[in-house]
Subunit: 235 residues, 2 copies
């Protein structure tokens, strides 16, 4: 376990020479010039991962939706608003990075039509047509020169089942799953707990503050990458 | 013009003894435990009005949607999230106030159904059924013991026409109209300009910072209230 030192000695540079791409925060999908659909993601987990990766010696690119957090000074920050903008930014950058961590809460659907002028209130009921957005994680995992690809799953029910399914279906290297809509942890909270899955294993990271959790997840990513590298070389 | 002193002498207590109710910020209309519809309101105009009213000697109640601003220490703050919660809070408090300023950007529509669990991504397209929310301003203006009722109109086109129509249709005492989605002013900006209308008059308040603009609007409200009081007494 080459990176466990990270927790005790923050100077252990176990990501030295590697480039890490992290997407963080929510996206906003406009209905018109003033209204939009979004979600409760604060961006805290993604920003904590960026800080942990920098601490471990990586060069970090952070693609961020609208959040109230300050980006780490040493990261390259790319600010986006919509799922389409986040998709474009991540796909453009992914192949030149060694690790991609998709920690953003990207909208699954966005309004099929963005009205140019503010929609006026009329009928008692109305319907909004929503169009599926592009799947950033799955597309990164399909790139010829793909990075080690880590996804997140935030669920209100059947967490392990959804996470395992997402890992396989999207061909990810790792997925970090957490509960949302509960008292402790999840979106807009300082704390979180993660259930991390990879092809033939899993690890539970107990409830703690997101900075500490991020260091543990970075450590686990390095451990799995190292294992896969050794495995490839001896295969 | 009894309140013009306010701009030069902030100690002029032209709202002394009066109670002012202000609603501010956006609302969030949940689709499920993590997703919601909202708008670009920052709450700055409403919070600036609360500060100006306090400065003019009023007792202030501030009903606020989720914003990143700090509420003035001397205001009574009621924090809400949805249009329904804002409606309940304002209607419960309105009749005991002398002035109501509806500066919040309340959602006109909210999802007809709030899903208890996170909606899973499936079809390429989907539709969302939206239900009209209750009209807080119009309901306040219909109260038996109604306060002096001031609305806002934020529009991307036909500003004056919409504002005049809203003033009459909702039976308001005054409406403050501003452009949104333009380069300068409007939502999430430090500055704004207002076109203010009442039954037989109007006044244009030029582009300036929201704190200064709020003091001018408070001054205008006091002037119109005073005029109406005198008019009633001599009628």
């Amino acid at each position: 376990d080459i990176c466990n030192r990270l927790m005790d000695e923050p100077t252990a540079q176990c990501l030295s020479g590697l480039k890490v791409l992290i997407s963080a925060g929510p996206t906003r999908e406009p209905l018109d010039p003033v209204r939009y659909i979004t979600n409760r993601s604060s961006g805290k987990m993604g920003y904590a991962l960026a800080n942990a990766a920098l601490k471990a010696g990586a060069k970090v690119t952070l693609v961020s939706g609208p959040v109230t957090l300050s980006a780490p000074d040493n990261a390259e920050l790319i600010s986006v608003e919509t799922a389409a903008q986040m998709h474009a930014a991540v796909i453009a950058k992914a192949a030149e990075h060694d690790i991609y961590i998709g920690a953003a809460a990207v909208a699954d659907y966005s309004p099929a039509l963005m009205e140019k002028e503010k929609i006026k209130k009329q009928a008692e009921q109305t319907t909004l047509t929503l169009q599926k957005t592009r799947d950033i994680l799955a597309e990164v995992a399909q790139l010829a020169n793909r990075p080690f690809t880590v996804g997140f799953a935030a669920e209100t029910h059947d967490l392990e089942q959804y996470a395992q399914d997402k890992l396989t279906r999207k061909n990810l290297d790792m997925i970090a799953a957490n509960w949302v809509g509960r008292d402790l942890g999840g979106f807009d909270s300082e704390q979180n707990a993660l259930l991390v899955f990879w092809k033939n294993g899993q690890k539970s990271l107990a409830m703690t503050d997101k900075n500490h959790l991020a260091e543990q997840l970075i450590s686990l990513i390095v451990e799995r990458m190292e294992y896969e590298r050794r495995h490839k070389n001896t295969a």
